[in-house]
């Protein structure tokens, strides 16, 4: 160990292991984490022979698919050895183990993070029985296509249509314009063979707004795109170049009526539309993903500050006092100000993501019993926290990069790749400014309520009563 770093460790006033147990949720969880890391990181098949940065775009994808398949098999193997499956999926799809093995993203992430949760959240019991088993065993690989070339966060503006035909009991999916092509979903390019597609539902000549449909995209045997499907990858991006983000267009593609996800709204055989009890019931998946995002942002920032703080303890610069050695850059207050508030943010995001996860679970169980009172509040908070965590993490990673000077600019510092992953999250799952404006809409309503009926305010906005 470098002597400067050792000196730092010698003067620490607390036991870092105690902090580790605190953050992991107990000693056992830490042991489990270490066992998981050894199991995956020691596999030579998952190690890179050539740094990812020196590979071509195509090679990056091919390596990522190979590793993603291997990781999935190994998770099963690890579970069979008696280790927790959910934690493994979480670690392998997220910012810890996942982004260590697949530095530029995982083309199967959306299969687990969006496709399966959507089937669970929006499929009927019959639909779940038909699709979830196949998805869980990876007999099919799915993704989730909502965003279109011409429309992102404003989902009411989506153009893809799903028109019901009672005589054949089929929906006809169609992309009427180039702007209606689905654009961005991870894994859509060349990985997934199924997809949840969000389209404007038409039945009996009337538009009923956007609804989700399960659509087969590729032949299960040959992986060739099915007739009427135009599909491919969108090309290189600032980061996440192995996530295989794709585009998708439909030319009058027919799917059976049973492939509209009908847990909430339904289309009967004769084309009668049965409305959902609430338009907000589809928020569930979206909020779940945002919880995961806040947790991931805390991890990215923790990694970035770990790199920058250790580097700052070793790196020395200038000679402010003659005849004395160059100080560690960590002794400069300007450097401390770059790093320490970002360390604090790691804890802040961790604490708030735990709160969001608890609230998500309690509101979801309230929803099951038809109580939707706290859903708008949860939606507003999940929007805000997604924005705060992604924007602070991206800015924090960038500050850490700057704190490492020219060496931070090197790809081998891992800070540029981490910035690519963090800043992407400012845009996907709801562009940050748009989300803040959605939260502001809730706040405006809360303000009116704060003036009129302050006692009825929801817990997170209760403080407004005083101001009102």
């Amino acid at each position: 160990v470098h002597p400067d770093l050792q000196k730092e460790r010698d003067k620490c006033t607390f036991d870092p292991m105690e902090l580790t147990y605190f953050l992991d949720g107990g000693k056992e969880k830490t042991f489990e984490k270490h066992a998981r890391e050894q199991f995956f990181l020691n596999d030579p098949e998952l190690k890179d022979t050539v740094p990812n940065e020196y590979l071509s775009h195509k090679e990056k994808y091919e390596v990522a698919v190979r590793k993603a398949c291997l990781i999935t098999r190994k998770i099963r193997e690890f579970s069979e050895q008696g280790h927790g499956g959910v934690d493994s999926y979480r670690a392998l799809l997220g910012a810890t183990l996942g982004s260590a093995i697949l530095k530029d993203g995982n083309p199967l992430t959306l299969h687990y993070v969006m496709f399966i949760p959507t089937l669970m959240g929006q499929g009927t019991v019959e639909q779940q029985a038909e699709w979830i088993g196949r998805a869980w065993t990876c007999s099919i690989i799915g993704t989730y296509a909502q965003t279109e070339l011409g429309h992102g966060t404003f989902i009411r503006g989506l153009e893809t249509t799903a028109t019901y035909e009672p005589e054949t009991q089929e929906f006809v999916l169609h992309s009427p314009t180039q702007t209606s092509f689905k654009w961005w979903p991870g894994g859509l390019g060349h990985t997934a063979n199924y997809c949840v597609v969000v389209a404007q539902l038409y039945t009996k000549g009337e538009c009923h707004g956007i609804h989700p449909f399960i659509v087969q995209l590729r032949d299960e045997e040959t992986h060739e795109p099915l007739p009427g499907i135009t599909i491919g990858e969108i090309g290189t991006k600032l980061g996440m170049n192995a996530t295989n983000n794709g585009f998708l267009g439909f030319n009058k593609v027919r799917i059976p009526r049973e492939q509209m996800l009908m847990k909430n709204a339904q289309v009967l055989e004769d084309g009668t539309y049965v409305k959902s009890p609430s338009s907000k019931l589809t928020y569930g998946t979206m909020i779940f993903v945002r919880v995961v995002l806040v947790q991931d942002m805390s991890v990215y920032l923790s990694k970035a500050v770990t790199i920058a703080v250790r580097y700052s303890a070793v790196r020395r610069q200038s000679q402010p006092k003659p005849d004395e050695p160059e100080p560690q850059i960590l002794d400069y207050v300007t450097q401390q100000y770059k790093l320490f508030p970002n360390i604090a943010k790691c804890f802040v995001f961790r604490m708030t993501s735990e709160w969001l996860w608890d609230m998500y679970n309690s509101v979801t169980s309230e929803l099951e019993s038809g109580d939707m009172e706290r859903l708008p509040e949860l939606h507003a908070m999940s929007c805000c926290l997604k924005v705060l965590s992604t924007s602070d993490a991206a800015a924090g990673v960038e500050t850490c990069r700057l704190a490492c000077g020219g060496h931070g600019y090197m790809a081998c510092s891992n800070l540029p790749a981490m910035y690519g992953l963090a800043t992407a999250a400012c845009t996907y799952e709801g562009e940050n400014t748009v989300l803040l404006l959605q939260a502001a809409r809730y706040l405006m309503k809360a303000w009116v309520q704060a003036v009129a009926t302050p006692n009825e305010l929801m817990p997170t906005v209760k403080y407004l009563a005083k101001g009102a």
């Binding site: 470098h2 902090l19 770990t306 250790r310 401390q336 708030t352 908070m381 924005v387 060496h407 939260a439």
Partner: protein, 198 residues
């Protein structure tokens, strides 16, 4: 002081939470007033919303910051039970740092929506500098506590052993250009260029 509850915010994190909530409430109120003003001046609801959107974004951000400071403190206090005193102290320093840093980057809002004075701002600055000094000896210990192994960090700069320069050099050697002492582009382009006597 928060006029309604007579709580002094000076140098207490609870006080900063009240200050953050006052800022958030002020931003929300101001946005609401401005939307209503614009509507009264003849703008449609949608146009009034768009014209006020800079303030609305700020209000949502302020609301979230206030929430995050409050929730982090309460979650931390809840979870810290049973931890050693030195660790608790560090964790509280970090929560304070987040709150004070927020306050110092929103001085304008504090002056606008709370009754802080210039002297209070100086207190905040001193408070933050004190926290930086207090955290300095534990900085490496805290990031060690994150327990992120070298393979996951995947960084020449951040490895546990701190052998930064050795690792940077090892990584440089992985460049495909270093596989041969002379790249073929020399013969194809550089040599003719060098000999062309421009």
């Amino acid at each position: 002081k928060d006029k309604s509850s007579s709580v002094s915010w000076k140098n207490t994190i609870e006080g900063l939470i009240i200050a953050a909530q006052m800022v958030a409430a002020g931003c929300v109120k101001q946005s609401y007033i401005n939307i209503e003003k614009r509507k009264s001046a003849g703008h449609s609801t949608e146009d009034a919303w768009n014209l006020t959107s800079l303030e609305l974004v700020k209000a949502a951000d302020a609301h979230c910051r206030a929430f995050v400071i409050e929730k982090t403190l309460s979650q931390m206090q809840l979870k810290m039970k049973g931890l050693s005193a030195p660790l608790c102290k560090v964790l509280m320093q970090l929560v304070e740092l987040y709150a004070v840093d927020w306050a110092l980057t929103h001085v304008g809002d504090l002056l606008r929506y709370t009754n802080v004075k210039e002297a209070n701002i100086q207190d905040l600055q001193t408070w933050m500098e004190r926290l930086l000094t207090e955290l300095r000896p534990n900085a490496v210990g805290i990031v060690d506590g994150f327990d992120i192994c070298d393979e996951i960090l995947a960084s020449a700069l951040g490895a546990y052993d701190g052998q930064v320069y050795k690792r940077l050099f090892e990584e440089a050697m992985k460049s495909p250009l270093n596989a041969e002492p002379v790249n073929k582009s020399f013969h194809q382009y550089l040599k003719p260029f060098l000999q062309s006597n421009l």
